[in-house]
């Protein structure tokens, strides 16, 4: 991100930006950066909180007046973590023992996904162009037959992940994003399939498969699950 500040400012476009990783910004030294302590993936801090987001945007834009950089300004406000990590149980039983296949799991989630879309008026599923049963079938074939092209598989998996997490957000007791992600990795057949798929991707002769297997399939925070298998 910081590199873009250099590239654009050098070409005559004044820039300001948000920094999520101060250590990186200190090395790249872009023209102007507002360092925030928010979670990666949430640069404006809090979803559905326009007032909070407005303050962050104003603070970042306010740096445009300064030419005494490269500068990093520390944003004062923080986001409190929700304190509901324990005591949350998935309100509908989706544990692997209760569904006999990935296809059944995907089908069972459809009603909750539809509810989530109705609540929010939008979905972020739709990168792959596949419907979810097709995407699930692609993952199943990758496990039982041969690996499809890495990009096709990646797009299908990203759509499925969005579908699962959007569906879970509409459960009667949806918990927090952290508990829903834990549900995904602890309890779903899809996560089990991704963990099972990783070794064959990592061992593939296709470098794109290896990138997927080693870097862009399992989040860094969940890779310990591979060692336990």
């Amino acid at each position: 991100m910081g590199a873009l500040g250099h590239f654009l400012e050098r070409e005559g476009i004044p820039t300001t930006g948000i920094s999520l990783v101060r250590e990186h910004t200190e090395i790249v030294r872009p023209p102007r950066a507002l360092w925030v302590t928010f979670e990666l993936g949430r640069p404006l801090g809090r979803p559905d909180d326009p007032a909070f987001q407005d303050r962050v945007v104003r603070a970042a834009l306010g740096l445009l007046e300064r030419t005494d950089g490269p500068l990093i300004e520390d944003y004062p406000d923080e986001v409190d973590e929700p304190a509901d990590f324990s005591g949350w149980a998935c309100p509908i039983n989706l544990a692997p023992a209760q569904t006999d296949s990935l296809a059944a799991e995907i089908e069972r989630l459809a009603v909750w996904y539809d509810r989530a879309v109705a609540m929010r008026g939008r979905t972020t599923v739709g990168v792959s162009g596949l419907d979810m049963p097709e995407a699930g079938a692609l993952v199943s074939r990758a496990l039982s037959e041969s690996l499809p092209p890495a990009q096709t598989l990646k797009e299908a998996i990203d759509d499925l992940r969005a579908y699962y997490l959007e569906a879970a957000s509409a459960f009667p007791d949806p918990g927090s994003p952290a508990t829903r992600k834990r549900w995904f990795w602890d309890e779903t057949r899809l996560a089990e399939a991704l963990l099972a798929l990783q070794p064959s991707l990592a061992a593939s002769e296709d470098p794109q498969h290896r990138i997927l297997g080693n870097l862009t399939l399992i989040p860094a925070t969940e890779r310990h699950r591979l060692r336990r298998r």
């Binding site: 991100m1 590239f7 476009i13 990783v21 250590e23 990666l40 939008r122 972020t124 399939l217 925070t221």
Partner: protein, 154 residues
Amino acid sequence: MVKRLDDMPEGEAAHLRRIECPTYGDTPLLPGVALAQRRVALISTAGLHRRGDRPFRPGDGSYRVIPGDTAAGDLVMSHISVNFDRTGFQQDLNVVFPIDRLHELEADGTIGSLASLHYSFIGAFPPAAAEPHAQHLAGLLKADKVDAALLVPF
């Protein structure tokens, strides 16, 4: 809350420490007119694009164009990294791409105007792959009379 890399879960911090950051000898800083007279473009590195646009791929330094009137429901994300939270984006586009906030700032006169087009890259680009695209983008921004770019990471 994340303070510094040392405060993050170890798996995540180790991944971020391994990322090689480019260094630059000097940093250009351009002066400009008051914010209330500037035309602002939003540039994200969250790998956002319209549904149906070409998804991002590993090593991709190119950008996608997001017209200012794109409905939130038309935007999807194909960032290659899985190490960033996406549930915030699923809940509210503006936590990643604060387009509604910028429209409000345009309406209340805080900024002069909002660009007609906005852009997204993936943050995991190798800088050398993105540089020619960024140079081209600078020309497009100038043609749109943009004199302020808000860079939002992911």
